[in-house]
């Protein structure tokens, strides 16, 4: 079922989204749609990137506006239905307990078989594939608290991949990863996107974000710009959002951010 599901793509739309966190307006009138492909959400600290991702995942209730998954309001889906369609990985994963790597990744299958069901052989093969993709299969019998920060992050990525959902939301997935694993993750996200998955990631690392199909620029809770990474208008928005501290330059076939530092 889930293999069929992955081929069946999904769409996610935010409509005039407003979110308040306490007395702070975290998001204000954000409207944007996501289709299969890789979108990176960027912006300065406190711009509302994580809040947008959490709201898209159904973890944060909007104050105004709505999120629609496949044309239906997110709140109208049952929690389990939604969880099979939208996978989410948070930024500060505070993990406790004694689970092994494999047991953690297996939790990604929970929305599919539920609390009272048992994992099938197909669930296990999806778990194997996820661990392989996130390069953590080699230490699947080790416990999460025995791993380094980067290793643990790869396990948590595998857990999100194991949901095998058509929409994959990742908040700062490159945290703690060394450069080779950052590149490997980017390649993995591109592959998943090419196979029809809607990948939406928050990235503070602009160099990585500029490798995405599309960038979503947030500025103090508002949508500032949306566009592909080679659009001059998008570059201008980025420079502006970061107060001119960077410029975007072309290196070979790619665009990279360069810090404006005078020594």
């Amino acid at each position: 079922m889930s293999v069929a599901m992955r081929k069946q793509s999904a769409s996610l739309r935010a409509d005039s989204l407003g979110v308040s966190l306490g007395s702070t307006r975290a998001l204000d009138d954000v409207s944007i749609g996501f289709e299969p492909g890789w979108s990176a959400i960027v912006g300065a600290n406190g711009a509302g990137k994580s809040t947008l991702l959490r709201t898209l995942a159904g973890l944060q209730a909007p104050r105004s506006g709505s999120v629609e998954l496949d044309g239906r309001r997110l709140s109208a889906w049952t929690a389990r239905e939604r969880a099979t369609r939208v996978a989410w990985l948070g930024q500060h994963a505070e993990t406790t307990g004694e689970l092994t790597v494999r047991e953690v990744v297996q939790l990604g299958r929970l929305p599919h078989h539920g609390l009272f069901g048992a994992p099938t052989a197909q669930d296990e093969s999806i778990v194997d594939a996820a661990m392989h993709d996130a390069e953590c299969a080699a230490w699947q019998a080790r416990r999460l608290h025995e791993l380094s920060g980067g290793e643990r992050q790869r396990v948590l990525i595998a857990r999100a991949l194991a949901v095998d959902a058509p929409i994959l939301l990742l908040d700062e997935p490159t945290t703690h990863l060394d450069p080779p694993h950052q590149i490997a993750l980017v390649q993995l996200l591109r592959r998943r996107a090419a196979h029809g998955v809607t990948v939406i990631s928050v990235l503070h690392d602009l160099a990585l974000a500029l490798l995405a199909d599309r960038l979503v620029v947030l500025d103090r809770g508002r949508l500032r710009a949306v566009g592909s990474s080679d659009a001059p208008a998008l570059h201008a928005a980025l420079v502006d959002v970061f107060d001119g501290a960077i410029r975007i330059e072309r290196v070979g076939a790619r665009w990279v951010p360069v810090a404006n530092v005078e020594w």
Binding site: R54, R80, A93, L99, L107, G108, L110, L115, R159, V163
Partner: protein, 339 residues
């Protein structure tokens, strides 16, 4: 082929079963004159002595195991629910609610001139105390839930539990200052005892275990998901308010039943899941069951020790569990510091 983890789990399960069996026998043999198997055999030959074993030692021994199992289960539930290895199952107002209810009954009986003491209480009075303790535990937890406005937020739940604990303890202090006769009964209840367990108490304890264990075990996967954080658990399709309500229900039931029969026995609930995690770390499905078995084994061991250490005198079992549990935690602390 079994993985090392599975081997450790199987080993712990076998050891717990063997230890429980040995302790059950020891519990039957342990009398007020020290204990010996030969003595037990001789005792069983005589009619009225068999009565002592059948009506006093057997229910006490089985009851101690069952009460310990309920405490161990509630400890594993509390630590999973609060995602904190130091969470005590007596949090959430269950302990303070139960002791206030017991104090109220004792005070009322002494003020109306029908002095009731835990040790000498007749069947009806004991039933009243047991019922009061159970109702008090449930009321304490309910009060905590009301104060925390539901089980939605763990921190608020924890704080509300502390507040309820302090308030109810103050209330029971107030009652005992008005009716000082209730103090001794309160002290006995706070110390905890396995000395008054009858067959009917065993039936109540067994029923509590049978009712609380299956739903707790069914929710074990949700506790596993909670180890990744509350948001991650929600993103996996779990409804946290409903989940917490079910877990708090199972927790209150097992604590309420246990303290109503044995009083507030310390540390068994806190230490049992620790021991399980140390000897056989596992997902919650195993930890819950093994913590119950460990709790049963621990309390039964403490009960046998309490009976035989200074025979014919009896050491209060709650004092023993507190000493042993405290020593264990101290050792854990020491080991951590070295590591």
């Amino acid at each position: 082929m079994r993985t090392p983890d599975q081997q450790r789990r199987a080993r712990l399960a076998t050891r717990l079963a063997l230890l429980s069996l040995v302790l059950l026998l020891a519990g039957l043999a342990a009398g007020s004159e020290g204990w010996s198997v030969r003595e037990l055999w001789l005792t069983l030959q005589h009619g009225d002595a068999a009565l002592i074993v059948g009506q006093i030692r057997a229910p006490r021994t089985l009851g101690a195991w069952l009460a310990g199992a309920l405490l161990g289960l509630s400890g594993a539930l509390a630590q999973g629910l609060f995602r904190n290895p130091l969470a005590d199952p007596y949090l959430l107002g269950s302990a303070s609610g139960a002791s206030l209810a017991v104090v109220l009954v004792l005070a009322a009986s002494s003020l109306t001139g029908h002095g009731v003491a835990l040790a000498t209480a007749g069947a009806v009075a004991r039933l009243g105390l047991v019922g009061a303790a159970f109702a008090g535990a449930l009321l304490g937890v309910s009060l905590t839930l009301v104060l925390a406005r539901g089980a939605e937020q763990t921190t608020r739940l924890l704080l509300a539990g502390v507040v309820v604990g302090v308030l109810l303890a103050a209330a029971s202090d107030l009652v005992t200052s008005a009716a000082p006769d209730a103090l001794r009964g309160k002290q006995a209840f706070m110390l905890g005892s396995t000395g008054f367990l009858s067959w009917s108490a065993c039936a109540v304890l067994a029923a509590g275990l049978l009712v609380a264990l299956p739903p707790a075990w069914r929710l074990a996967r949700a506790l596993d998901a909670l180890t990744l954080g509350e948001d991650a658990a929600r993103s996996l399709g779990l409804s946290l308010p409903r989940l917490r309500a079910a877990l708090v229900g199972a927790l209150a039931l097992s604590i309420g039943v246990a303290v109503s029969q044995t009083g507030l026995i310390a540390f068994v609930g806190l230490v049992s899941p620790h021991l399980v995690r140390r000897f056989a770390p596992a997902p919650h499905g195993y930890t819950l069951l093994a913590s119950a078995a460990t709790g049963g084994t621990l309390l039964l061991a403490a009960d046998v020790l309490a009976r035989s250490l200074m025979a014919p005198q009896e050491v209060p079992v709650g004092v023993l569990t507190a000493l042993l549990g405290g020593a264990y935690l101290l050792w854990l602390l020491h080991r951590r510091r070295i590591a």
